[in-house]
Symmetry: C2
Subunit: 225 residues, 2 copies
DNA sequence: CAGCTAGGCTAATGCTCATTAGCCATCACA
DNA sequence: TGTGATGGCTAATGAGCATTAGCCTAGCTG
């Protein structure tokens, strides 16, 4: 016996569950592995065999857990967008004033892109790899997210708290600089996620021309808490 | 007669050169077509047949003009990076003072990302699709480009003209917001390339905490040096 | 007008993949 | 102890693709 398959291969039957691994764990391990591979090699260059190998099984066995490679991508990307929106909702809740709301929104944005850099990275790069019903849905959700920033800045400008030439451009520049974080941030780098979020919050407030106590401008870093 | 190939196909022999098309033009038409397709579908999802069809020939005929699909991508990406660096060099030449140098650098950065949005878009998204000698060379060139911004900001901070918490983060945020332009800019949109470049120049100066006469903001001109 | 070259074309070639089929061992549970 | 479900595995299947081979015509050159 040994290898019961009868194939010419030497590999013994691995115990089906190395640990106490309920089905859900295995599935999420697959998603994690796929995420890492999509981030490093790109969706198109990642094979089901690669993903399987990363969790210790063969490519075809993945189909016992996921419907398709596309489903994996769609799930990762949609999940990312939804969490971004949910984080924004939570961040903004109970904040008074446009300045505070913008700061919290930006901090949540940065925090997400730093903490979940792979998700964010893939979520931004692989849009063209999505197939049609999903691609449109994703873009719609993204535009909801973007609109929140734009409208917040428009409101701030209308109230006289912000001073921008274009709310649209201000919002894009703030969002895009956050997206960039996902491509260079490293956990063990110079700054912690919290420090990063705080600094980007300051930068965003500068972009919209808000004056606020923490950043007097001249001697900028001085007063900050 | 008609189709001299003898195949079962109905397609007549297209004149080899619809216009006065010297070899170089055909080659650059191919590069253009490849660029557009890479941008829209992604490198991996674009086939040689697609590229051929876009210039009116069959996939295999492309090999009379280019060595491989990879070569096309590498050429596009390297060319983009080199022009970005060259534009920066030209922009900065003869500029006095860190503020002016930063403004001109940013304007050139934005201008490139708006005018050559497809190149810039592909250049940023398809890094993982490059094979090894080229990928490293590209990343090296990119880090040269990034370093220019960072060092400029460091210098400005040292001179007391800029006020940033981190030159690295300031430079990344400026570069990243420019990269973002390539993904949403549209020639016939709300702003011209020049207007866009100017606005982003202002934003960059705000990010680095430079006071400057053009953008008083709310009493912003107050402490102006 | 002979012949070379450039640049098309079709038809292989030889992969690489995602996905499906069909088989089997383990295990929870009766 | 028997049995059904779960989750592995190998071996198709079928498609798509980059690239190569080999052929052919038109047009220039002499």
């Amino acid at each position: 016996m040994g290898s019961a398959q009868g194939g010419p291969y030497e590999r013994p039957h691995r115990p089906a569950r190395p640990e106490g691994t309920p089905a859900a764990d295995r599935r999420s391990a697959i998603r994690q592995a796929a995420l890492r591979l999509f981030a490093v090699r790109g969706y198109g260059a990642t094979t089901m065999t690669d993903i399987g190998a990363a969790v210790g099984i063969r490519g075809p066995s993945l189909y016992k857990h996921v419907a398709s490679k596309h489903e994996l991508l769609a799930e990762i990307m949609m999940g990312t967008m939804e969490r971004l929106i949910a984080d924004n909702t939570a961040a903004v809740a109970g904040a008074d004033g446009v300045g505070e709301r913008l700061r919290r929104s930006v901090e949540a944005h940065i925090r997400y892109h730093a903490r979940h850099r792979l998700e964010a990275f893939v979520g931004n790069r692989e849009i063209a790899s999505l197939v049609q019903p999903e691609q449109d849905r994703l873009l719609q959700r993204r535009s909801v997210y973007e609109r929140r920033f734009r409208e917040l800045i428009e409101r701030g400008a209308a109230e006289g708290a912000f001073h921008v030439q274009s709310a649209r451009i201000a919002s894009y520049s703030i969002l895009d600089m956050g997206i960039g974080v996902a491509s260079w941030f490293h956990e063990d780098g110079e700054y912690s996620v919290d420090q990063l979020a705080y600094q980007y919050g300051d930068i965003a407030l500068r972009i919209v021309g808000a004056r606020h106590p923490d950043l007097p401008g001249e001697g900028g870093a001085t007063g900050h808490a």
